[in-house]
C-alpha cells in the first residue's frame, strides 16, 4: 500500500493539464456546468475530447477507451475539476454506451458508438414514470411488436435535458403476462424525432428547466432498436444503474467546490474579519473536508478493487450516499457564507451585461438556486433511502 504517484503518473498529470489549458474553449472558462446552457456549450468540450480520443476513458480500448489505470482516471477528473470543465453528459458516455457495447449487436455498435464518442449525438434516459420511481420495475410503458416495428405507448418523466436529445433509451414492457414485474421488460432505443414523441418541460424549484415529461403515443421504432434480447431489459437496466452510481461520488468536483468555498469565506466579512477566521464556520469547512477525504479514500479503494476485476458492487451505494450528502452540504455552506446576498433571484433578470450597480458579489448569484437544485442528488440515481436498502439487503443480509 502506498499513496505516491509514480513518475509516469506525474508525467501524465502534466500532459493532461497542458492539454486542458491549451484546448479548453476560452468562452467556456469560468462558466461552469449549468442546466440552462445551450446545447452547443454543453457539447463543446465533449467534441474536443472526442477528437483527442479522450471522451470515453472508461470504455474498453477496442471501443475507444483510453486504457487508463484507476489512478490516471483519478488524475483526469482532478484536472478537469481544476478548470471547472463542462464534462460530457453521462447519458451517452456512462449509461447507454456501456449497455450497447456490452449487450448490443455489431450493427448497433457501429451505428451508435461513434456518435457517443464524438459528442455529436445527445442521449436521454427514459426509465422513470409517474407511477414508477423507486419501484422502477412497476413501469407501464408498453412496446408491442407489429411486423418489424415496436409500437411504444406510455409516459416517461423526469427525463433530464430531453429538450436537447437526439436519441433516447427507454424501458418498455414487452410481456405483460410475465410472472414477475422485472421480467417482460425490454431496453429499446428511439430517435427522439420519431412521430409520437412529445417532450414537455417541468420547471424545478430553482427555476430551471432541467427535466421533462416525455409522452410516447404510437411511437413506431424498428425492431433493430431493441438492445440484446426481448424481455431481458431489466438485466441491462441494472447493469447501467450500477455504472451510473459509480460516477456519482463527484470527489474531484467537491474538492474544487471546497476550494471555492474557502475563497468565498475569505472574502466575506464577519465582525471585521474574514469569515474563514470564524471558529464556527471554519469548523464546518473542516468537517466537510474530513468527510470528503473519507469518501475519496473509499472511492480509491473501490476503484482499486474494480481494477482487480470486481465490477461495481453494492459498495458503490456508499459512494452515492456519501457523495451526494457532501455535495449538498457544500452548497448549503456556500449559501450560508454569502449571507444576505443569497436572497436575490437572477434568472431571467438583466444582471449580466447590465451597466447598473451590481447586486452583491458574483459568487453569490447562484448560491441559493444551486443549493435548491442539489436536493435532487439524494432523490435521483436511486434515492439515498433505496441505496441504504440495497446495503441492508446485499451487504448486511437483512
Amino acid at each position: 500500500m502506498n499513496l505516491e504517484f509514480t513518475p509516469e503518473e506525474i508525467e501524465f498529470r502534466k500532459e493532461v493539464r497542458a492539454f486542458i489549458e491549451e484546448n479548453y474553449p476560452q468562452h467556456l472558462r469560468g462558466v461552469g456546468a449549468r442546466e440552462d446552457l445551450s446545447k452547443e456549450y454543453m457539447l463543446a468540450w465533449h467534441q474536443i475530447l472526442g477528437k483527442k480520443g479522450w471522451s470515453v476513458p472508461a470504455w474498453p480500448e477496442k471501443y475507444g477507451g483510453t486504457g487508463w489505470t484507476p489512478t490516471q482516471k483519478y488524475i483526469w477528473s482532478e484536472e478537469n475539476a481544476r478548470m471547472d470543465t463542462i464534462m460530457p453528459l453521462p447519458f451517452g458516455v456512462s449509461m447507454v454506451g456501456p449497455v450497447i457495447y456490452t449487450f448490443g449487436s455489431e450493427e448497433m455498435k457501429a451505428k451508435h458508438l461513434p456518435g457517443i464518442r464524438d459528442g455529436s449525438v445527445w442521449w436521454c434516459q427514459g426509465y422513470s414514470e409517474p407511477g414508477a420511481g423507486s419501484d422502477l420495475a412497476s413501469l407501464k410503458t408498453t412496446a408491442v411488436r407489429d411486423g418489424d416495428h415496436y409500437v411504444i405507448n406510455g409516459q416517461k418523466t423526469w427525463t433530464t435535458l430531453a429538450q436537447h436529445a437526439d436519441w433516447g433509451f427507454f424501458l418498455c414492457r414487452t410481456d405483460p403476462n410475465a410472472a414477475k414485474p422485472q421480467e417482460g421488460i425490454s431496453f429499446i432505443l428511439a430517435d427522439m424525432n420519431t412521430p409520437g414523441i412529445e417532450v414537455k418541460p417541468i420547471k424545478t424549484i430553482d427555476g430551471g428547466h432541467e427535466v421533462n415529461e416525455t409522452w410516447l403515443t404510437d411511437v413506431r421504432v424498428p425492431v433493430e432498436n431493441l438492445v440484446g434480447k426481448e424481455n431481458e431489459g431489466w438485466t441491462y437496466a441494472k447493469f447501467l444503474l450500477a455504472h451510473e452510481r459509480s460516477g456519482i461520488a463527484g470527489v474531484a468536483r467537491s474538492k474544487r467546490g471546497v476550494e471555492k468555498l474557502r475563497q468565498i469565506a475569505s472574502t466575506e466579512v464577519l465582525d471585521g474579519k474574514p469569515l474563514i477566521k470564524d471558529d464556527d464556520f471554519i469548523r464546518k469547512i473542516g468537517q466537510l473536508e474530513i468527510d470528503l477525504t473519507a469518501l475519496e479514500f473509499t472511492e480509491l479503494r473501490t476503484l482499486a478493487s474494480e481494477a482487480a476485476g470486481k465490477g461495481p458492487g453494492p459498495e458503490s451505494s456508499i459512494l452515492k450516499v456519501k457523495g451526494t450528502e457532501i455535495q449538498q452540504r457544500l452548497t448549503e455552506l456556500t449559501l450560508e457564507a454569502v449571507g444576505h446576498y443569497g436572497h436575490p433571484y437572477f434568472r431571467g433578470f438583466p444582471e449580466d451585461g447590465s451597466n447598473e450597480f451590481p447586486i452583491g458579489p458574483d459568487y453569490a448569484h447562484q448560491a441559493a438556486p444551486t443549493y435548491f437544485n442539489m436536493r435532487k442528488t439524494s432523490i435521483y440515481g436511486g434515492s439515498n433511502e433505496i441505496q441504504r436498502n440495497i446495503i441492508t439487503k446485499m451487504i448486511l443480509g437483512l
Binding site: 424549484i205 464556527d280 449571507g339 436572497h343
Partner: protein, 385 residues
C-alpha cells in the same frame, strides 16, 4: 401559567385563516408573486379591514390594544399561506420603532397611516459588508444645520419596492462597528438622492438595493435619541426575529402536513410510502421539530418585554431552534416527496425555499448561537459540599 389565546386573538386567527383560504391559495400566491408588482395592495387593505395592522398597537396609539402575541398569531397564519405582503417591515419594524420611541408628532404622522393600511414601510438596516451585525454600519448621517445628510448603501431591503417610506439605520458618529453613535431615521423613499435597484428574491418576494447619495432629511426624521439607537434597534429586531420564527412555525407545520398526506397517497412497491418505517420516523422527527418550534416561539414571544439579557437569550434560543428545525423539515419534506418535491408546480418546494431563507433573516443559527453563548458563558462556581 396560561398558554391560551384571548378571544380577540382567536377571532383574528379564524378570520385571517378564512381570508387566506379563500383568497390566498397557492396558485393565487404564485400568480401574484410572478406578477409585475409582486404583491396585492388590495390584500393589504383587507388586512387593514380585518384589524391585523392595528392588532399589536395600544389603544392610545390607535390600535386594538394587543401586542407581540397578536403579531405571532398573524405571522403563523401568514407562514402557512406563504404570504408575501410586508407585515414584518411595516408593522413589526416600522411600527415597533414608532411605538417604542416615536414622538407624538411622528406617531400622528405615521402610525395612523400604517394602521389604516395607507403607508407601507421597509426596514433598511443590512449592509453589503455588515452581515448580521446591527452595529456594523458604513452608512452615515451627518448633521447639517437642523437636519442630516445620509450617504451609504443598504443591502437586500425586503419589501422596499412596495414601500413609500424607509426606516434607515445610520452612523451619526464613531467608527464602523462602534456600539455608540448609531441613529434611526424615517426617510421617504422618493427623497432626492435615493436610488433603488429592485429585484425578486428566491423565495418569491421582492427586495431592493438602496443607495443614498447626499440625502437630506429634516431633524424630525430622527426616531429616538441621536447616537443612542442600538438598544432600540436590537429590541425591534428581536421582535421581528420572533415574528419570523412564528412565520417559520406556520410554514413548517404545513410542510410536515403535506408530507404526511403525500406519503399516504404515493404508492411504490405496492404500498403507500408512508408504510416504510424509515420515512415514518423521519416524519415523526419533522413533527417533533415543529412542536419544539412552537414551544420556542411562544417562549420567546412571552419574554420580549423582560429585561434585555433575558430577552436576547430567549430570542436567540428560539431563532437557533427554528433555523435548525426549518432546515430539517424543509429538506425532508422535499426528500420524501421524491422527484415531485423538486418541482415548481407543487407547493411543498416553495415552503422549503421560504424555510431556507428564513434562517438568514435577522441572523442565522451561528449568529444567534454566538449571541446566546456570549450571554451564558460566565464560569460558575462548584456548589459548596
Amino acid at each position: 401559567m396560561d398558554f391560551n389565546f384571548s378571544e380577540e386573538q382567536t377571532m383574528i386567527r379564524d378570520s385571517l385563516a378564512r381570508l387566506l383560504r379563500d383568497q390566498y391559495e397557492f396558485e393565487t400566491r404564485r400568480k401574484v408573486s410572478e406578477s409585475e408588482s409582486g404583491w396585492r395592495p388590495e390584500m393589504w387593505q383587507q388586512f387593514a379591514e380585518l384589524g391585523l395592522l392595528a392588532a399589536p398597537f395600544s389603544e392610545e396609539d390607535g390600535g386594538l390594544g394587543g401586542g407581540a402575541l397578536d403579531s405571532m398569531v398573524i405571522m403563523e397564519e401568514f407562514g402557512k399561506a406563504l404570504v408575501v405582503e410586508p407585515y414584518i417591515p411595516t408593522i413589526v419594524c416600522a411600527g415597533g420603532f414608532l411605538k417604542h420611541a416615536g414622538s407624538p408628532a411622528q406617531k400622528e404622522e405615521h402610525l395612523t397611516a400604517i394602521i389604516g393600511g395607507e403607508r407601507v414601510f421597509a426596514f433598511a438596516y443590512a449592509e453589503p459588508r455588515g452581515r448580521y451585525d446591527l452595529a456594523d454600519l458604513e452608512t452615515t448621517a451627518k448633521k447639517d444645520g437642523d437636519g442630516y445628510v445620509i450617504n451609504g448603501h443598504k443591502a437586500v431591503v425586503i419589501g422596499a419596492p412596495w414601500a413609500s417610506h424607509l426606516i434607515v439605520t445610520a452612523r451619526t458618529s464613531g467608527d464602523r462597528r462602534d456600539k455608540d453613535g448609531i441613529s434611526v431615521f424615517i426617510v421617504e423613499k422618493d427623497a432626492k438622492g435615493i436610488t433603488t435597484r429592485d429585484y425578486p428574491t428566491v423565495d418569491g418576494r421582492r427586495a431592493s438595493e438602496v443607495y443614498f447619495e447626499n440625502v437630506s432629511v429634516p431633524a424630525d426624521a430622527l426616531i429616538g435619541e441621536e447616537g443612542k439607537a442600538l438598544p432600540l434597534i436590537e429590541r425591534v429586531v428581536d421582535e421581528a426575529t420572533v415574528a419570523v420564527c412564528a412565520e417559520a412555525m406556520g410554514a413548517m407545520g404545513v410542510a410536515h402536513q403535506m408530507t404526511v398526506e403525500y406519503s399516504k397517497q404515493r404508492k411504490q412497491f405496492g404500498v403507500a410510502i408512508g408504510k416504510f418505517q424509515v420515512l415514518q420516523h423521519r416524519m415523526v422527527d419533522m413533527f417533533m421539530e415543529h412542536e419544539q418550534s412552537i414551544s420556542m416561539t411562544y417562549m420567546a414571544t412571552l419574554k420580549l418585554d423582560e429585561d434585555e439579557e433575558t430577552r436576547k437569550k430567549a430570542v436567540s434560543a428560539a431563532k437557533v431552534r427554528i433555523g435548525q428545525g426549518g432546515r430539517f423539515v424543509g429538506q425532508e419534506a422535499v426528500q420524501i416527496h421524491g422527484g415531485m418535491g423538486m418541482t415548481d408546480e407543487l407547493a411543498v418546494g416553495h415552503y422549503f425555499k421560504r424555510l431556507t431563507m428564513i434562517d438568514s433573516e435577522f441572523g442565522n443559527v451561528d449568529h444567534h448561537m454566538r449571541r446566546y453563548t456570549a450571554l451564558t458563558a460566565e464560569p460558575v462556581k462548584m456548589a459548596a459540599e
